[in-house]
């Protein structure tokens, strides 16, 4: 079922168009992630949906109703900000209560929802504290609590984890994922981190310079990127892109191959190269290889441990069935 729909939505700041006309459909209950490099317009797009920015042209529909000019607070959407945006002079309980106060929900109902949210988010012992006295992860949970109690029809997350350290980020990522499984509410999530996008999303929207490059499930984007931009943006380490004579062999202007679709050998293989730095992760080893006739240094994944000295000659072979071929315009060539 359709929930949020953008029809030809365009955004100009002064005379610069930051988002050229764009169409997008978000289904009810879906977890959609907007991902792209910084400055790609993903946050602006989220703020357009939230109503914090005015749409220059086009229509934004929520539940089939034109909501282009609806006030942000009347859209039934809750937002979690990157800086958490907790009200500094209010306690945790008062912060969580604030949207309910605005909605004039009866006191006892407010109290019930605060208690539930606090229990679900491990905040029960902190209800009387002020935001200043909380850790980053706790502040994040208060911000989520404040969003939950409104019982919104959709959650909007604007890079919610980027202020947390790496370990907390993984934990909060799981919590947000759990939350989505439990509430089954539509979630729109903005991040520049493609790992967050891959792990959280039902549907990823890859943005570049305000335009949608590709929309699809994480694995669709991973397996069949529709152009070079998506191919390079999704996946870590980055896909190797080969141009020139080695690509011409495969009848393409450029060929992409992921590090795990290359096999490395010290005896024989398709391409000959010289080993560079190796990164030993224990379960895998990533080896940088300079291949003759390929400008960019390639990254190759070897399963387990693979010992190779710097400067040693190695041979690498791509899995032909897992090659991505692109034409001169950078678009995927369907084989």
């Amino acid at each position: 079922m359709r929930h949020i729909e953008l029809k030809g939505v365009q955004k100009d700041f002064d005379k610069t168009t930051v988002i050229p006309p764009l169409d997008l459909e978000i289904a009810k209950g879906e977890f959609v992630v907007f991902v792209g490099p910084s400055g790609c317009g993903k946050s602006t797009l989220l703020r357009l949906i939230a109503g914090l920015e005015d749409v220059t042209k086009g229509i934004l529909e929520i539940d089939g109703v034109d909501a282009t000019d609806t006030a942000p607070g009347k859209r039934g959407l809750a937002m979690v900000f990157q800086s958490y945006a907790l009200y500094p002079h209010l306690t945790v309980a008062q912060n969580i209560a604030f949207p309910m106060r605005m909605a004039k929900i009866p006191r006892d109902e407010q109290q019930r929802r605060i208690t539930n949210a606090a229990a679900a988010l491990n905040l029960t012992d902190y209800l009387d504290r002020r935001p200043k006295q909380l850790s980053g992860g706790q502040r994040q949970r208060v911000a989520i609590g404040r969003a939950i109690v409104r019982e919104p029809s959709a959650f909007l997350f604007d890079e919610p984890l980027s202020n947390l350290d790496a370990a907390l980020r993984v934990g909060m990522r799981l919590e947000i994922s759990e939350l989505h499984k439990r509430l089954k509410t539509t979630m729109i999530y903005v991040t520049h981190d493609q790992v967050e996008a891959m792990t959280l999303a039902d549907k990823i929207v890859v943005l570049n310079a305000g335009a949608i490059e590709q929309v699809g499930s994480p694995l669709e984007l991973y397996d069949t990127p529709c152009n070079l931009f998506v191919a390079k943006f999704i996946g870590s380490p980055m896909m190797n892109i080969i141009v020139g004579q080695h690509a011409a062999v495969f009848h393409a202007a450029s060929v992409g191959v992921r590090p795990e679709h290359l096999t490395i050998s010290k005896s024989s293989g398709t391409w000959t190269g010289v080993a560079g730095l190796s990164e030993h992760l224990g379960s895998d080893t990533y080896i940088r290889v300079d291949v003759e006739g390929i400008d960019e240094t390639m990254t190759v994944r070897a399963q387990g441990k693979f010992n190779v000295n710097r400067g040693e000659t190695v041979y690498i072979s791509p899995e032909v069935e897992n090659l991505h071929r692109f034409n001169e315009a950078g678009l995927r060539v369907v084989s």
């Binding site: 607070g73 809750a78 900000f81 800086s83 945006a85």
Partner: protein, 276 residues
């Protein structure tokens, strides 16, 4: 840095010496005025060691029978009202300048700065002519308006600054929570900028309280403020130093707690206490 302890001690000693010098300069006149206020007018210029115990309260009694208490009340009323009005207009104005997407902010900032920097003489003559024609000379209203040429730019400018330190996302969060702009202002932005608002109010009050020039030109006997009333103790044949000393103390006492408060809040508002 502190491993050379001798250098450290020297530096400390130097700092201490500077502070004592400063204190002597700043405090000595105040102490002197305080002593003067307790001395009999006839003995006021005698060296204090000749009659160190000859202290009296008669100056205080005398001043209560003069026009000075009424002038003190006038000072309270005009400084209080001009601060109140400046806050009522300047705080929302500062909020708008800090948070609204307005064109011409640059011009507004220059106009405000100019108003802050322009000497009062620049305002007083046109104001006097205006007031003479509209019957505002020697009225509270006239003086309060005149003070607002000082307090309103001060409050607006400093609240612009204070609200600029309140993150946009706080207000946006309130708007997303379905708060009206007024509620976002009163329930979120204003409490977050409270230290700045208190500091602005205190500074505005002090500016009006300490004014001499406007009151001298605009008031007559009816609304004379305390700083002007002090002059009444200077007559053709004599200067009533004892009363002037008492009046000075009466003018200073009410602002001491304000200064202490202002000090705290100014530090708070400068240290960005609003960040969540």
């Amino acid at each position: 840095m502190i491993d050379n302890s001798r250098q450290f001690h020297n530096r400390r000693r130097f700092g201490l010496a500077m502070m004592i010098t400063l204190l002597v300069f700043a405090a000595l006149p105040t102490v002197w005025v305080l002593v003067l206020s307790f001395r009999a007018p006839v003995a006021i210029f005698e060296p204090i060691w000749e009659s160190p115990t000859a202290l009296t309260l008669q100056n205080f009694y005398k001043i209560t029978r003069s026009d000075f208490p009424a002038a003190l009340l006038n000072s309270f009323i005009t400084a209080g009202l001009s601060t109140t009005f400046a806050m009522l207009v300047g705080v929302p104005a500062g909020f708008a300048l800090a948070k609204a997407r307005l064109s011409g902010k640059f011009i507004a900032s220059w106009v405000l700065l100019l108003l802050r920097m322009a000497p009062p003489v620049g305002f007083v003559i046109p104001l006097f002519l205006l007031y003479a024609n509209s019957g505002l000379i020697d009225t509270y209203l006239g003086l309060v308006f005149a003070y607002m040429t000082l307090t309103l730019p001060l409050v607006t400018w400093s609240m612009w600054n204070s609200f600029a330190q309140v993150p946009d996302e706080l207000i946006e969060a309130a708007i997303m929570d379905d708060a009206s702009l007024a509620k976002a202002f009163f329930l979120i932005a204003l409490p977050a900028a409270r230290p700045g608002a208190v500091a602005a109010a205190i500074l505005a009050f002090l500016v009006a309280w300490n004014d001499f020039f406007y009151a001298l030109i605009i008031t007559r006997s009816g609304t004379t403020t305390a700083p002007v009333a002090v002059m009444n103790f200077i007559s053709y044949d004599s200067v009533d130093w004892a009363s002037i000393a008492v009046a000075s103390i009466a003018l200073t006492l009410p602002i001491l707690p304000l200064m202490a408060l202002a000090n705290r809040y100014i530090v708070q508002s400068l240290s960005g206490a609003v960040k969540g």
